[in-house]
Symmetry: C2
Subunit: 233 residues, 2 copies
DNA sequence: CCGCATCAGATCATACATTGTTTGACGAAA
DNA sequence: TTTCGTCAAACAATGTATGATCTGATGCGG
């Protein structure tokens, strides 16, 4: 069986170099996305260097890279801080997804091959088998599902943007559980989506994906809100 | 009179630090966007350091930042290259604009104040006075026009994305002249847009902006094509 | 065509200089 | 006593310099 790793799918590589094991960049980035580094936390170069057993030089470069990607904020002469991945951030991201993914979908429907359908159905079967038992696995399968649809899109920029956003949302949602209603909705959406793709209904598929992404975003936001309320209360 | 500088408008600052004169980052970035550094050209760290009279460290950091922003591509152990700002790149960018700007506009229409209208009309007057005589000035005014609409949007991420793309398109289009028909269209669009905003017609305004951006993108692409054909022919 | 020496340049490690920020002690004023 | 401004020391960002290592590219002889 294919493994669904959490890495840029073929043809999607925003940076231009990934390869090697765990670069400083990836380590810091994951720490941010996963929440191990807290919002607005100061990123002191020498500390990071020591913690990861490197010199300061690679750390400084990694931070600049993260700055360019928007995960880190710099203040002149005051160094870097973790960009808060808060509700606003998540909302911003998923709203952009609502705008972009339907367009990606529309194109995919017009280009989908028989093999694509087979693949989507295969993944969907795995999703249903797993049935959210292993949430991490669900997340990977779900990502794989959408990747099949977007990875060949001619607009590389849009596809990369989608992937970047996807990674953030995935990491955030990993902290939460799917509600029962959301589970049902996800399965329904996917099944309906496959049918629409088969039927070549590009416009309807696009609309459905828009609603799907919207629902997914709202779901995560609700969870964040609930979690924050619980912490505060 | 206010000056319309080509810098992030209030509240739009993708990076987190701008300030000082011309950082290495800005110099290299402009060289790329303006085409002084050619597509796929190798960016040798030591050369750049020497050319700009710095050590290698700041250069490497600038390159990483540019990598994060997508202007530079890294190959492991082979260093950096200029990401080609070619027709595909421009198309990708403006297509995303077609998706995002209408959404930004829709919100603006629902939030526009009387002062906003005044400001838009003032800028539009300046645009018409200038009437494309000074293209650079037109570009700045046009950017200012749209900035008024987008700068207060709650989705900072989307606004930053717009600004980043805008800068690229501006730089590319600076190489070309507006065709007469495009000039007329731009003026028409702006005038109609102001009317729609006044009337609170969010949906129609959004559609118009979509067409406006689409037209602008196509216009640039046509110019690039023509220019390439001329060079090849 | 293949294998190998050679070379340019990336990447990383140190060490250090300079400069701006932060902090907390100290003392004057209210 | 409390409040506030000043100031120095600690801290850390930023830039410079230099050397070690390793990779990929190039050109040559087999």
């Amino acid at each position: 069986m294919t493994d669904f790793k959490a890495r840029p799918p073929v043809g999607i590589d925003a940076i231009g170099a990934s390869t090697e094991g765990a670069s400083i960049y990836e380590l810091i980035r994951d720490d941010i996305i996963e929440g191990r580094l807290k919002a607005n936390e100061r990123l002191v170069v020498s500390d990071l260097a020591q913690r990861h057993g490197t010199s300061t030089n690679p750390v400084r470069e990694a931070l600049q890279l993260l700055r360019g990607e928007g995960f880190v904020i710099f203040a002149p002469n005051r160094g870097a801080r973790v960009r808060p991945i808060d509700q606003d951030f998540v909302r911003d991201i998923y709203e952009i997804g609502v705008l972009i993914e339907p367009a990606l979908t529309r194109w995919f429907v017009s280009m989908a091959t028989h093999d694509d359908i087979i693949e989507l159905e295969r993944i969907q079967r795995l999703i249903e088998e797993n049935n959210f038992a292993d949430q991490l696995r669900h997340s990977e399968l779900d990502t794989a599902f959408h990747t099949v649809m977007y990875q060949r899109h001619y607009n590389r920029h849009a596809a990369e943007l989608w992937w970047k956003h996807r990674e953030v949302l995935r990491a955030v949602s990993r902290r939460f559980n799917f509600t029962l209603s959301r589970r049902a909705q996800v399965l329904r959406d996917h099944r309906e989506l496959i049918e629409l793709i088969k039927a070549g209904e590009a416009e309807k598929a696009a609309e459905l994906v828009g609603r799907h992404v919207e629902g997914s975003g709202r779901h995560i936001l609700e969870q964040m809100r609930a979690s924050n309320a619980a912490r505060a209360g």
